[in-house]
Symmetry: D2
Subunit: 339 residues, 4 copies
């Protein structure tokens, strides 16, 4: 933390600030110039609130210069962290990964049909959810562990890996046995016990950002998993709230680039969640890959118009195949390839 | 839901939309005018996504006209719901309530001193938290159930009721035995299992809004508690994110008024959480009461400058007393009184 | 500007940053600690972009510590600037002022009726607009200088002062002859030539914030008027965009308090523009006064339901009178009085 | 406008709403269902505020179903409008255009060097600004019409077209003689007289969005130019405010896709203005092209580290050339080509 004193701060005020900083456990380095005094405060708890100092008399500004996440921060890390999955699948390398599937596991037939399309398109990750369908207490209930078993079986049949959402700490152990990657939905991004449980199991975690969370909050949630013992976290941007998109979300590519500077963790983008509409998904998916995303999540459904959950954002199998070809071309254009 | 067809929509397109609506279980009422056809669709699942229809050919706009929360919605309710607490304390009536206390239960001495101030100021609700201090994995751990017992004892000694935060479903039962009101922090606003557990116990719930959540999401969380069986929910606005307050939150009084039109639930405001600074708290607290809030949460600390958690936003006991007098005058000015 | 070097920055990198700072005309003060080097850079153009330095190698962060507005900034000013109007009317003192009137000058009869109500309620400032009615190219045209003359005549008849909007630099001189305060609408907040013209005439300026502008941009616009020679600027908050108010605006009282810390200029609030609905105006007006606003703008109309412009946000004369009484009580509650 | 009455609305309330709608000049079509009455209101002024009706008793919701911009709206237009420039250059077709140049016209040597690079990279549009450098009253003054003449000469020498900003209505005529495209900065997006003057001259207009403006406001500004007589408007997205980018702007690609559905006008993106940092520009430019932008604005400077204005966001000539090659590949990947 850097503390900049007012030009007219008295020596007494400066002394008082230093005293308070020492009490809070900082090492203080004072630099007195002709026009202002600056205090460098080092070694403090990452959760310290600089306003605690800024409110003292004679202080103009107190600025945090360290990030509150140590493990998730880029630091000296030159490259994006690579995460190895079974079957030689890798996230965070030169390959851009796609995770595709239906919004929810409904019937075995449906899942089978979609998995076949996904595998045929060269995709390696099958994703779906078996929990409740939404934020409403009246949302449809999910298919639970039975749905997850089905997902596993179908994936095995098509040589696919399973990415599945977990919503409860007590479900993590079993999900870790059945899935290859555990996904945390935006609603649960700050569910501390869930993050802790995910930190104590061996599967990589795909961590969605909550639409109203800052990047710092998101990285603190990643830090929670990392600090608990699991170094394999992939971030998943799925849109943020903005004044200009009532009822929809923003997908800010400038923020994706900022995120890269802050963290070494791989970043996926979910264009369907962000836009909510299947006619927006292809362009946003291409933009995400062009902006450097390490992966894209795509939902598909044989009859999106009839799907009870997520239909508005699901691609038809045909549109999905066309988009996959286009994503391959975009990835190649920026020197990467679809994994 | 109202579906407005494009001026040039063909009869086939209209038929197809009607067919789809019927498949989804709606009753459809068609109104064909000279210039446009409008379809009224009734009776559907509150979680239905209108974009599912809007994406069909020939549709100009599909607009939801019912709210997805039934119990939390104002409906025909003329008045704010009243919630009765022990000792004749009542939330949601003509009285504006204050819940005051330290950010965290630290030591017995501290709590005792603050409780004495709170009681002396005529306040009836003692609030504090015994969980971890923040969103960081490195945040200080809380004092847990021991802290809560202490809070209860001190409150009893001063004739105060206890408002305490719960963060885990499994802690709800015990907290319900020790506290009079259970508080849900913004981070847990969408923690479905926690909301469910709170719906199955008898204590009123003070439900904070997450800073990035919409009012609709907030009311859906309230609905979760209500639909599970607990009709006693009090909302607590604690600020929302905005482009103009980097690192701080907005406290939008226009939104408070909109909220009144949407729900019959009482609404509290927490000016300390919203602004993060004790020098902003008095003016924002007065504004909240003037705008019609049913209660205000105030944090105080004998030595805010030294408090390790929440110090920047805690009032000194002196400022607190001055503010209480001012709030009394503001409440009287709009025809209410401090409870 | 404070430049914080990375912990591992080399001496060469530090030298290069210093060299660049000197080239840009800064005085540089170097402070080398055991763990990091901090450079204080003084004396630069207020428009300098710190990212220009932040992008240099070895730099962790470059933080501006001076505000880019010198005259509008609070600086050492202890009190809010007072602005004297004819007839002993004063803005920025202990009195909270009300400016009231119809959205637009339509007919003489209408204006006469409203002015009578305004004067009878003890209000001193009559406000209205004579320009086009909105942001659309199809908006109704205004009544122009004829409307302004009418406004002046009616105001004189009722002993009121005139607050009227100007939208073009070339209209400023005549408006300054006819009105007592010149108002700048949010749309024109960054109209440089208009701000310049207002700086070169003697009437106080009521400067609305654009709904998407930051407080800094707003204060830079005020600075433009001040720096051109007119020290009499009153800010008018009329709501900001937020994710939670599609089609409406936020009225953030926490921001009002922050603004006080940034500037010595008086601040008005326009609850009608902010909320767009007459049923939200009274609560928001009370909140604004309780939060410390120096004035409130209120629109009224004898038949709001029939008004072609601004009807949704106009109070009836009866509601207006009731609100005035309430505002008086709220002002008294915080130790002020309605002027 | 669609007016949905409350389920319990009385016949009298319905009659009263109809009466009011007729007074405002609407044609009303009533549809009475078993559970609710819906009124379709047609033929009204595009500036009408639906809240004027929503506030009437018995009304649940009043929803506008027509866009307030007629000429800028997509309507039945199948394709993006094409705009022809001299020398066979075309905006809005299959080609993606680049407009490149220095932020400001400073010296002839600088401009010459940059123009040479721009032309060598195959770019056809040279862009720069000759006005003041920023929003501050202390910003550097521009080089004015002399700068514009220089820009024209240099452009001619290199076979380039000129895109230059205009800020004042009275400068439009001369700028139209010297430049091929006239650019409106975000600050002037709602400068009505400037938009009017641009509507009365023959050059295409590149209209930046203000960072806090909604898409609707932006399109209303475009409508102003179109309705005044100039059908050649190109939109330029340069970032919007968001809670997550303090001091920076968001570049929302989901919004770009939404914009396509709303308007037939071509859309450019300015990644430098949006991100403010040259190290973010390449990824955001690639994303913009991948998302379907019709053009990209790029700033370059031989020595960005030393540039007094816009240095932080200016590319070096080398980075610019590398990016141009990459943009060509991305455009090809989505079936377009760089123009």
């Amino acid at each position: 933390m850097i503390v900049v004193m007012e030009a007219g701060a008295t020596e007494e005020q400066i002394e008082r600030v230093i005293e308070r900083l020492l009490e809070f456990g900082f090492d203080v380095h004072r630099s007195t110039g002709a026009e202002m005094t600056i205090l460098g405060a080092l070694g403090v708890h990452p959760d310290f609130d600089p306003r605690q100092i800024e409110l003292l008399e004679g202080v103009r500004q107190a600025v945090r210069v360290t990030r509150p996440y140590r493990l998730a921060g880029r630091g000296a890390a030159a490259a994006t962290t690579r995460i190895e999955l079974p079957g030689g699948v890798r996230i965070g390398g030169r390959e851009v990964m796609v995770a595709a599937g239906p919004a929810r596991v409904e019937t075995a037939e449906l899942l089978e049909a979609i998995a076949a399309h996904v595998a045929a398109a060269g995709v390696r990750l099958l994703t779906s959810s078996v929990g409740a369908s939404g934020r409403s207490p009246y949302a449809r209930q999910g298919t639970g562990v039975e749905g997850l078993r089905l997902l596993r079986e179908v994936a095995n049949r098509h040589g696919l890996l399973v990415v599945s959402e977990v919503t409860r700490p007590e479900e993590v152990a079993q999900a870790a046995e059945l899935a290859d990657v555990l996904r945390v939905g935006g609603r649960n991004m700050q569910h501390a016990d869930l993050l802790g449980a995910l930190g104590r199991q061996p599967r990589p975690v795909l961590l969605e950002r909550a639409p109203g969370a800052t990047q710092e909050e998101w990285l603190l949630s990643a830090e929670h998993v990392l600090a608990t013992g699991n170094p394999q976290v992939v971030l998943c941007e799925r849109g943020t709230r903005s004044f200009d998109a009532p009822g929809e979300l923003s997908l800010d590519v400038a923020a994706l680039v900022r995120l890269r500077r802050l963290t070494h963790l791989p970043v996926f983008v979910d264009p369907g969640r962000a836009t909510g509409r299947r006619d927006s998904v292809p362009a946003v998916a291409c933009a995400a890959v062009a902006a450097g995303a390490d992966g894209v999540v795509l939902e598909l459904h044989p009859h999106p118009e009839r799907a009870r959950v997520g239909g508005a954002r699901a691609l038809t199998p045909e549109t999905f195949s066309v988009l996959m070809a286009r994503l391959r071309a975009v990835a190649a254009a920026i020197g990467r390839q679809m994994g």
